[in-house]
Assembly symmetry: C2
Homo-oligomer: 148 residues x 2
DNA sequence: GTGATTGCAAATCTTTTGCACTAAA
DNA sequence: TTTAGTGCAAAAGATTTGCAATCAC
């Protein structure tokens, strides 16, 4: 294994430099947490707590700013589930998700399946003068037992 | 033409009774505005302004409450586009939309097209013990000319 | 050093809520 | 009359912002 999930700090450094974001303590800390362990979905508040617990005392405002910067830089993607707060996905190009309202849990849906499906979609032409930017799909799930 | 888009007030009355919501002045006013003219997408703030302009002095809190009640009663649907505020659709079963971030405009995508498309979707089985509740699709569009 | 970044607290925005008042049945 | 619904203003939650202090280069 050459790189991969190991050496989260070095990896974070590399990726920050790649998008021209100055690798500060806070950004490196957050990037390490986020980019170190496979696909993740977090809210600002969750990441904030996690950082403190891990011994990186960042402020909540900085977490918000950083998530926005990462997203804008293409390091992450925003997941729109409409639960009042924003979720961020370490997989920037992942636009297909399962969402469990009850638990607030989000899981990626593999690109291929949905991509293939959408290719069949006879999407009606967008309004005149408009082009499709991207397609977001949220599959809402719940416990199979009654009550929901 | 028997019913249709005419007589919005009577129509509103009928629909409120149908879902067992007491037809008060405010609810009748808002329902008339919403259900009187084909499919619509509104935010609470927009509807609030529209009501005042139309000479129905409802409070913003009531608009929020009413939209929630209508949605819960199945008269409307919530559209999740993640722009910070909530949009409501007078078509309760419409889960497929075009969304233009620049203008905040939302347009329905006909059910059939997307339904058919999604039938092809080899949606990976939802996590164990979970079932699909519904699927939301947001097609983000923008002006075709450069700048976006 | 110098400009970018951070932290804090205050500000903003959307939505909800408590409670006295009013209207529907 | 009796209960549900409304309005107002305050509260709550998420996110952004202003500005002085701090850090990366």
């Amino acid at each position: 294994m050459t790189s991969g999930t190991t050496r989260p700090y070095a990896e974070a450094m590399r990726r920050l430099k790649a998008v021209n974001l100055r690798p500060t303590r806070q950004r490196l800390a957050l990037a390490s947490l986020l980019l170190g362990q496979g696909p993740r979905h977090v809210t600002a508040e969750e990441l904030f707590q996690e950082a403190r617990t891990a011994g990186f005392p960042v402020s909540l405002a900085t977490v918000y700013n950083t998530l926005n910067q990462f997203t804008q830089a293409g390091l992450m993607g925003e997941v729109v589930v409409g639960s009042g707060q924003s979720y961020y996905d370490t997989n920037a190009s992942s636009h297909y998700h399962y969402f469990d309202k009850a638990t607030g849990e989000i899981v990626d849906i593999p690109e291929e399946a949905m991509q293939a499906a959408l290719r069949f979609a006879n999407l009606p032409a967008p309004p005149p003068g408009k082009v499709i930017e991207r397609v977001d799909v949220v599959v809402r799930i719940r416990d199979s037992r009654r009550n929901g």
